[in-house]
């Protein structure tokens, strides 16, 4: 049973075929990278999986369950978390509150219980906090706990977004360009974390990335896209040597 499967997935904006009958499967416990030139349809695939877009045709299966028509907020409940290319954090909240929103899918308390802050709400809050603290430790965010996002530098925000996704305790995590805007050192850290997510936390990773050295270091398999179509699929070295991929990047 694969973790996530896309069958002939298509997304058309009028005549533009952003994603054109793409089929692939993400196996449980692997790190799969999607590469391709700008406008190849990589982020569109992510937005299809997290159901921000409706596919024109085709279907998506998560652990053999059809999720093609699930509402976006139920995707997180199934265990799929994501980060964004242009960082979508809750700017006017503290780091801690941002991470606690990641715990939202695990909250069970009712509005009236929260208004009175009954003991079960307090108990839940502490349990959530304990989980958040584990993620903070995993990603070395101790120094930033109580700071507002709006005052933090880009590199840290990137890590916080990853942390927020991890707080949902996902089975599958979608990373949209995890290294964009990071310096060499931060990219190194990121690659270690991505590896650790797979080995220590057992999370399946699907990522879009432009940095080939990062792709080579972490991925088990690579999919190359161009103009919404799959060019090649396989081990990183294989895909990069594929004539179509070379042509897409360098021209013929």
């Amino acid at each position: 049973m694969s973790c996530l499967r896309a069958d002939n997935l298509s997304l058309h904006f009028g005549g533009l075929k952003a994603v054109d009958s793409v089929s692939f499967a993400v196996e449980k416990g692997e790190i799969l990278s999607i590469i391709g030139p700008n406008g190849a349809g990589k982020s569109s695939i992510f937005n299809l999986i997290s159901r921000l877009y409706n596919p024109t045709s085709g279907s998506l299966y998560f652990e053999d369950q059809d999720i093609t028509r699930e509402p976006p907020h139920d995707i997180a409940k199934l265990g799929i978390a994501r980060t964004f290319q242009n960082i979508e954090l809750f700017e006017n909240a503290t780091v801690l509150n941002n991470l606690l929103v990641g715990r939202h899918r695990h909250s069970t308390t009712q509005l009236w219980q929260e208004l009175l802050f009954l003991p079960n709400v307090r108990r839940d809050e502490k349990a959530h906090r304990r989980r958040v603290e584990q993620v903070i430790e995993f990603l070395d965010l101790e120094a930033h706990r109580d700071k507002l996002i709006s005052g933090l530098p880009y590199g840290v925000r990137k890590v916080i977004e990853l942390a927020r996704a991890l707080c949902t305790e996902p089975k599958l995590i979608l990373l949209d360009e995890p290294s964009s805007g990071l310096n060499v050192e931060e990219t190194d850290d990121m690659s270690f974390w991505i590896r650790d997510m797979k080995t220590e936390l057992g999370i399946t990773v699907l990522m879009v990335e432009h940095d080939m050295s990062l792709v080579n270091r972490v991925s088990d398999r690579v999919i190359a896209l161009n103009y919404g179509k799959v060019l090649a699929m396989g081990a990183p070295a294989e895909v990069q040597a594929h004539p179509d991929v070379v042509a897409a990047y360098l021209g013929t």
Binding site: H73, L89, E125, K126
Partner: protein, 383 residues
């Protein structure tokens, strides 16, 4: 400066981070409790209005400040609470029942407004809420069998335990204060629980909120309902305080006053709702002062600078005409909002935080601490 050493997750959850808060809020509460026995009845009456406005302010803060959904229709929710009160009171329903009914009805209608509002954002939502307020105003004027139309309704004082609670007495003041405190504590509780965080997530990035599993539509409706319910409860006490209600009391002007409460107070904090309410309630006496005393003062000033009696009288007349001109109140409101948005977007509470920090850091305060930075708009935001 005080450094808090946190040793337990409880330290991040509790309402009072350290003993200083307990002491200062305790002193404030004690002052408010003895107020009706020390202060003149006029000031206590103003305090009652502060409590009511602040309650509405907290309600609006939940919706606009925390969930990011602007509303210019809160006068309508207040009206729904007030008319429910007037009508049920006339039928002889006891106070606790119609008090809760006022909140419940406003809340249900708030949820109903919330549903169509799901598809609207920013200025469009504002227009939709104005439309809702106008509809409610029209219904109040036309549904004469219930609301008595434009003639308005008398609201007799609250009857409880066989006693009458006069609207000027200390007990009524305690009722208003009690409601405000309950609403504030409830909101604080909410904001430290998953629902409150979902509100904030909805405000700051709907896309991210969705992908974290927040049902954005549901939380917007919840926020509308809660905000409206709180406003409805305030409406009940508002009706009793005024003792007479009619449709022209619940116009757009009142909704704008409520928005001003949260903008002037500071839109990200509950302190703002209370500070803004104090400010708004004080504007009216100030305008009266402007009307009654300023013309004489200006004329006197002119006389001391050598203006003749006739000329001074003329100046006094024209200043008086200016001060009592129609629409002056609206103009002053507009000016105040503009000045706050330009120079102090975090409102009175933001100013208070700056002053506090100045004394905490003295003599190390840097003038550029709160210098606003340019924030670059993100390019490809998902909506």
């Amino acid at each position: 400066m005080r450094f808090l050493f946190k040793t337990d997750y409880e330290d991040d959850i509790k309402l009072f981070p350290h003993r200083g808060y307990v002491i200062s809020y305790g002193v404030l509460l004690a002052c408010l409790v003895v107020a009706p026995f020390v202060l003149s009845s006029y000031i206590v009456s103003q305090l009652v209005f502060v409590c009511i406005y602040a309650t509405v302010g907290v309600g609006l803060m939940i919706l606009t400040g925390f969930t990011g959904q602007a509303s210019l229709g809160h006068a309508a929710f207040l009206a729904i609470g007030a008319y429910t009160t007037a009508y049920l009171h006339k039928l002889g329903v006891p106070f606790p029942v119609y008090f809760l009914a006022a909140g419940l009805l406003a809340g249900v209608i708030g949820a109903m407004v919330g549903f169509p509002a799901l598809r609207l954002q920013g200025i469009y939502l504002v227009i939709a809420t104005i439309a809702f307020a106008l509809i409610v105003e029209e219904i109040m004027a036309r549904w004469e069998s219930v609301t008595n139309g434009n003639e308005g309704m008398r609201v007799r004082p609250i009857q409880m335990f066989g006693d009458t609670i006069p609207r000027d007495g200390p007990i009524f003041y305690y009722l208003c204060l009690g409601l405000l405190i309950l609403v504030i504590v409830g909101t604080l509780n909410l904001m430290r629980s998953p629902t409150g965080r979902a509100f904030i997530a909805t405000r700051d990035s709907e896309t991210a909120a969705k992908s974290m599993g927040v049902n954005v539509a549901l939380y917007k409706v919840k926020s509308f309902a809660l905000s409206a319910a709180i406003t409805g409860l305030a409406g009940c006490l508002f009706a009793h305080k005024l003792s007479f209600i009619s449709p022209e009391m619940f116009t757009l002007q009142l909704s704008i006053e409520f928005i001003m409460v949260i903008i002037i107070g500071g839109v990200l904090s509950l302190h703002g709702a209370v500070l803004g309410a104090i400010f708004i309630v004080m504007v009216d006496p100030f305008l009266t002062f402007l009307k009654d005393d300023i013309p004489g003062m200006v004329a006197g000033l002119a006389a001391t600078f050598g203006a003749g009696a006739e000329r001074a009288g003329h100046i006094q007349e024209s200043v008086a005409a200016f001060a009592s001109a129609n629409g002056l109140k609206g103009a002053i409101y507009g000016l105040i909002i503009m000045l706050f948005i330009l120079f102090e977007p975090y409102g009175l509470y933001g100013r208070w935080l700056k002053i506090k920090l100045f004394f905490q850091l003295f003599p190390l305060y840097k003038r550029a601490t709160f210098k606003r930075q340019k924030i670059y708009v993100k390019s490809e935001r998902n909506r």
